[in-house]
C-alpha cells in the first residue's frame, strides 16, 4: 500500500495549527477513510463529524485542498498527488479540529414561514401535477451539508450572517415560493429580511453542491426575478395594480 500525508488543522476557537499525518492508503479510499485511519493509528482525539458515509447525511463537510467537500465522497485518487490539506469549514465557528458549529443554519430555517397550503379539493385531497412539482423536487434533494453556505463569500469572507440567509435557505425559500399549493407571500421577506440583494450570483454554491442542485440558476435567480417583479419593474407594478395579484 502507498503512503500519503495529510495536513490536518488541529485546534479550537482559541487557536491551533496544521499537523501532518502520514498513513497508508489503498485503492478506493476516501478522505474520511484516511481520517479514520489517522484516528486509529495516530490521533484518537482528532474530532471529525460523520455519519452515513454515503453522501446523504451531510455530516462530514470539510475543506479538502481548499474546497468545501464531503469527505466521504472525495476519493483520494481524485486529488492531485502530494499532501492533502484538510480544514474545518470557514463560515462557521469551530468547535474542535474539523468540527464546526453549524447551529446558525438551524436558526435561519426557523425564520422561514412554512408552507401555507390552499384549501383541499372537494374530495378532501390536495392535488399537484408532476410538471408543477418538478422544480421544487430538485430543491428537496438538499442534504443540508452546508457546503454552499461555507463557500458563499457573503458569509465566508464578508461575515454578513445578519444580512444574508445564505444559498441553502434561498433554495428553501424558492421551494416554498414555487410550490403549487402554497398561498403565502414571502417576497418582501426575501428582499428585506433574507437579503436576496446580497448575493452577487458568483455561483460557487452551485459548484460545490454534492447533489448538483442548480442553486443559483434555478433557485436564487428566479427569486431575484420575483423580487424585481414586485419592487423594481414599473410595468409589472402597473399590471399588478390593474389586474391584482394572485398571491
Amino acid at each position: 500500500m502507498a503512503q500519503r500525508t495529510f495536513k490536518i488543522w488541529r485546534g479550537d476557537r482559541e487557536g491551533g495549527e496544521f499537523v501532518d499525518y502520514t498513513v497508508e492508503v489503498g485503492p478506493g479510499m476516501v478522505v474520511l477513510d484516511a481520517i479514520h485511519r489517522i484516528q486509529a493509528e495516530h490521533a484518537s482525539e482528532l474530532a471529525c463529524r460523520w455519519n452515513c458515509k454515503a453522501g446523504k447525511c451531510g455530516s462530514c463537510s470539510m475543506e479538502i485542498n481548499g474546497k468545501p467537500r464531503l469527505s466521504c465522497m472525495t476519493r483520494l485518487n481524485s486529488l492531485p498527488e502530494g499532501t492533502v490539506t484538510v480544514q474545518p469549514l470557514k463560515a462557521f465557528p469551530i468547535v474542535k479540529d474539523l468540527v464546526t458549529d453549524v447551529s446558525w443554519n438551524f436558526e435561519q430555517n426557523k425564520r422561514i414561514p412554512p408552507l401555507k397550503p390552499k384549501a383541499r379539493d372537494a374530495d378532501g385531497n390536495h392535488r399537484m401535477m408532476q410538471e408543477d412539482v418538478d422544480r421544487v423536487q430538485e430543491f428537496r434533494k438538499c442534504i443540508e451539508c452546508f457546503l454552499c453556505q461555507d463557500v458563499c463569500h457573503v458569509l465566508r469572507d464578508h461575515k454578513q450572517h445578519e444580512k444574508f440567509v445564505g444559498p441553502r435557505f434561498m433554495i428553501r425559500l424558492a421551494q416554498l415560493e414555487m410550490h403549487p399549493l402554497d398561498t403565502d407571500d414571502r417576497i418582501e421577506k426575501i428582499r428585506k429580511e433574507f437579503g436576496s440583494g446580497w448575493c452577487n450570483i458568483t455561483r460557487c454554491c452551485t459548484e460545490v453542491c454534492p447533489e448538483h442542485i442548480g442553486i443559483t440558476d434555478n433557485g436564487i435567480i428566479p427569486l431575484k426575478e420575483r423580487v424585481v417583479d414586485r419592487y423594481y419593474d414599473p410595468v409589472a407594478w402597473f399590471i399588478r395594480k390593474v389586474f391584482g395579484s394572485k398571491k
Partner: protein, 276 residues
C-alpha cells in the same frame, strides 16, 4: 508519526487577498475570463468608436446594424446612403463623437450583456475579485452585494427587450445577405451572419429574465391552457439556460468574428466566396 507545522489563523484560513489552500490552478479561470472579457469587449468597443468598414454589400457587421444614420463622408466602408434608415448623421451631431451607427441600437447589446446574470458572475469574479474563485479570499473592499448602485442590475429585463429588438434586425440582415442587387445567392458571409443570429438567439432565449417572464414566474403550469403552453416554452428556455455561459461566449466571439470578417472584406484584404 506526526510533525507540527507553524501556527496559522483559526481553521487554517487566512484573510489576506487571494489567500487559499486550494492546490489546483484556480487562477486559470480567473485569468482566462478577465482576458476574454477584455479582448472581446475591447475589440467591439474599439470598432464601435471607429465607425468604419462595417459594410460590404450585401453584408453588414452587427456592430453597425441597424444603420439608423450613415456618415456623409470621411468614414470608409460605411453603409451607403440608400441603406441608412434616416439618411446622414444630423448636423447637430457633436464633432468630437465619431459618426458611428453602433451608438444607437447595437448599444443595447452592451447593456444586455452588462446586466446579464452570467456576465455579472464573470466580471464580479474577474475584475472585482469578489471572489476571484470559489474558496479564494477576494478583495477586502466593503461588500454590499447587489444593493445600492448595483440595484440597477435589476433592469436586466428591460435590456432584454432591447436585445430582442436587436435580434429581429440581425435576423433580417442575415436573410438580406442572401440577396445582392436583387439576385438570390449565398456566400461565406451569409453563413457567418446566419450563425451569428443563431448563436445570439441561443444566448437571448436562454436569458434568466426571459425564462422567468415566459413561465418561470408561474407556480402552476397545469392550471390552464396558457400555463401549459408557457411550461413548454419554459422547458425549452431552461435547456438553453443551462448552457447560458456557453452561448454567452460563443455569441460574443462570433459577433466579433462577424465584424472582423466584414471589415476584412470591406478593406479588400480578403475575398468572399459566393455564388453571385
Amino acid at each position: 508519526m506526526t510533525t507540527a507545522t507553524a501556527p496559522r489563523a483559526i481553521g487554517g484560513h487566512r484573510d489576506s487577498f487571494a489567500a487559499t489552500t486550494r492546490s489546483d490552478r484556480w487562477w486559470q479561470g480567473w485569468v482566462l475570463t478577465a482576458t476574454g472579457l477584455f479582448v472581446f469587449f475591447g475589440y467591439l468597443t474599439l470598432r464601435a468608436f471607429q465607425g468604419t468598414y462595417y459594410w460590404f454589400d450585401p453584408y453588414i457587421s452587427p456592430v453597425g446594424s441597424p444603420p439608423l444614420f450613415t456618415p456623409a463622408s470621411g468614414y470608409p466602408g460605411s453603409v451607403p446612403l440608400n441603406h441608412a434608415w434616416f439618411g446622414t448623421f444630423p448636423s447637430m451631431w457633436p464633432r468630437w463623437v465619431p459618426q458611428s451607427p453602433a451608438f444607437f441600437i447595437p448599444g443595447l447589446a452592451i447593456a444586455f450583456r452588462a446586466t446579464c446574470y452570467y456576465y455579472r458572475k464573470a466580471y464580479y469574479r474577474a475584475f472585482a475579485a469578489s471572489p476571484p474563485a470559489c474558496g479564494v479570499r477576494g478583495a477586502s473592499l466593503k461588500y454590499r452585494g447587489e444593493t445600492r448602485l448595483l440595484l440597477l442590475q435589476n433592469l436586466h429585463r428591460y435590456t432584454l427587450y432591447g436585445a430582442l429588438l436587436l435580434l429581429c434586425f440581425l435576423w433580417y440582415d442575415a436573410f438580406a445577405a442572401f440577396f445582392k442587387g436583387g439576385r438570390f445567392g449565398i456566400g461565406v458571409g451569409t453563413l457567418v451572419m446566419i450563425i451569428n443570429a443563431s448563436l445570439l438567439s441561443g444566448y437571448t432565449f436562454g436569458c434568466h429574465s426571459w425564462r422567468h417572464l415566459i413561465g418561470g414566474r408561474k407556480d402552476c403550469f397545469s392550471c390552464d391552457a396558457g400555463s401549459k403552453r408557457a411550461h413548454g416554452i419554459w422547458k425549452k428556455s431552461s435547456w438553453l439556460n443551462s448552457r447560458h455561459m456557453l452561448f454567452a461566449w460563443l455569441s460574443l466571439f462570433w459577433v466579433a468574428f462577424t465584424d472582423f470578417y466584414v471589415s476584412m472584406l470591406s478593406r479588400g484584404v480578403i475575398k468572399d466566396l459566393n455564388t453571385w
